[in-house]
């Protein structure tokens, strides 16, 4: 297992290095640069040249790539000319808020999704199970801003239980942020719940048909034990992969929900950065997305291996 993890880690690092260079070149290839974005309509040739000279944008692409990469190794993500701040200072407090939001949403959605998935698989065909199925399909396909707007109307306007729009700044203490987390977290939880629940149910139903389950039942093993010791270990890898993918999405794909509730996280700053073409910030945020994507596939592979006795045996032999 250790050898496998080390090899997998080396591959992940390689993928990250190659992809981050591609991301840098991709952002580089976008029309316009930080100075055209900063100066906007007031840009004249002399002003542009001045701004580019002051910010080191005249150097060649390869030179700046090396600059950027060596900064990255020192934990320096660059400087946002547009916002007049170092990228790290912009990103860190919002990263903390996004992590808090993703954690709350995960805690709400994932354990419940596994339980409901198993429950509805075991009651397949009953009216309640079909109703749960339909509702989850609706939640899955609805655009997030529709779900979010309806929840907002229900719980912040008609029943004023929760704050609708975040008014605190991005670097407020977690205690001040917390009341503002509930509505966006519930919205996100509803979306990811449906995905994980359906995958758990489908995987359970497929596993239940396999001969070893029939054999266990034929040996007279109690149904509870069959479910826990025989079906679940074989059925869990599929929903765990879905959890890994959706957890990554919770950290990197929450643009719309954060904008709806004005939540001061990475999603909202990403939308702002893209709208005003803040390339330094876009680069850092895309890189963060890449790290999360690679990490989530790494974790999901490792967990799948650890869970599956056959895969463990393969590695041992």
């Amino acid at each position: 297992m250790t050898a496998y993890l080390l090899r997998r880690l080396a591959i992940s690092l390689g993928v990250f290095t190659v992809m981050s260079v591609l991301v840098f070149l991709g952002v580089e290839a976008l029309p316009g640069d930080a100075c055209t974005a900063l100066l906007g309509r007031s840009a004249t040739a002399t002003k542009l040249a001045q701004c580019r000279g002051a910010n080191g944008l005249n150097a060649s692409v390869s030179h700046r790539l090396i600059d950027w990469a060596s900064g990255l190794l020192r934990g320096d993500l660059g400087f946002s000319i547009k916002r007049g701040k170092s990228v790290v200072d912009i990103v860190l407090p919002r990263l903390r808020n996004s992590l808090a939001l993703a954690t709350v949403a995960s805690l709400m959605a994932f354990p419940l999704a596994i339980v409901v998935g198993v429950w509805s698989a075991r009651r397949k065909g009953t009216r309640v199970a079909r109703a749960v199925d339909t509702v989850s399909l609706v939640l899955m396909t609805m655009p997030e801003f529709v779900t979010a707007s309806v929840l907002w109307l229900l719980f912040a306007v008609w029943l004023p239980l929760l704050p609708g729009v975040t008014m605190v700044s991005s670097n407020a203490s977690l205690l001040e942020i917390l009341p503002n987390i509930w509505l966006p977290a519930i919205t996100l939880a509803l979306v990811v719940f449906a995905h994980v629940m359906r995958s758990m149910r489908a995987s359970f139903l497929v596993t239940e048909e396999r001969p070893f389950v029939e054999a266990a039942r034929a040996r007279g093993i109690a149904e509870r034990v069959v479910v826990r010791r025989h079906i679940l270990p074989a059925a869990l890898p599929a929903p765990i992969n879905v959890i890994a993918v959706t957890a990554a999405w919770l950290l990197t794909g929450t643009f719309v929900v954060e904008v709806v509730f004005n939540f001061p996280g990475l999603g909202r700053i990403a939308v702002d950065a893209i709208s005003d073409r803040d390339t330094a910030l876009i680069l850092a945020l895309t890189l963060f997305g890449l790290v999360v994507f690679i990490a989530s596939s790494f974790v999901s592979d490792a967990v799948t291996r650890a869970l599956d006795p056959r895969m463990r045996a393969q590695v041992a032999s």
Partner: protein
Amino acid sequence: MSAGAVIVGGHLLLALAASVLPLQSVVAQDSNAILQGASGAHWLGTDSLGRDVLSRTLHGGQPSIGVALVAVLLAAVLGFGLGTFAALVGGWLDDAIMRVVDVLLAMPSLLVLMLVASFIGREPVVLVATLALMYAPPIARVVRGASGNVLTRDFILAARLRGASRRAIVVGEVLPNIAEVFITEVAMQFTWILLAFSSLSFLGLGTSPPTAEWGLMISDARGFITVSPLPLLAPVAMLASLVLGVNALVDRRAQAALP
């Protein structure tokens, strides 16, 4: 007719009819009548600029449905072409095409769309082309899988022995046999494109004001929700019902396609 077909048909009809129905102007503002409730003059009230909500809601489907329809047709042609071509040639070219498809599939589509809209432009042509490119890969993958199965069957061999051309085989033999899977996949991608485009408008990077578009209307209405929920609820209901309708339709087709 299924409920899904009725809903989707109704939506298409309404989107077309909005231009001919005797509706009030989409852009005319009335500063004396802002955020009013439902009345005889404005059946669904007015928004924060005093514009008629009913007219804007009925017109609001045109940009998203139009963009999504054109984009999904392009994506379908592209996906079908790539998928069948990969299945026909096989070998390293097949592998190469499918790896490129996998890479495109892994890209976060909303992020790419936002970048394109902000840096290249938000003209419909640009957005349609980007959407078609982003949503062709899943179609190509499904077509590749399905036509790969069909191509191993005996009647394909028979057609080859008859001396049928590659084009004749693709159009005459493969297409009819993968039609169900293909159409279902294209319909699914239509909803994703619709959602992506209206999300983009919601984020302020798609349709530009003062055009009536559901995502943009929902975004505009949020600030005034405590005064009047109608400008928010009307486009929400339309968007939600269209998405549910297409899903009901797809679900039915998928079930009908099972042996």
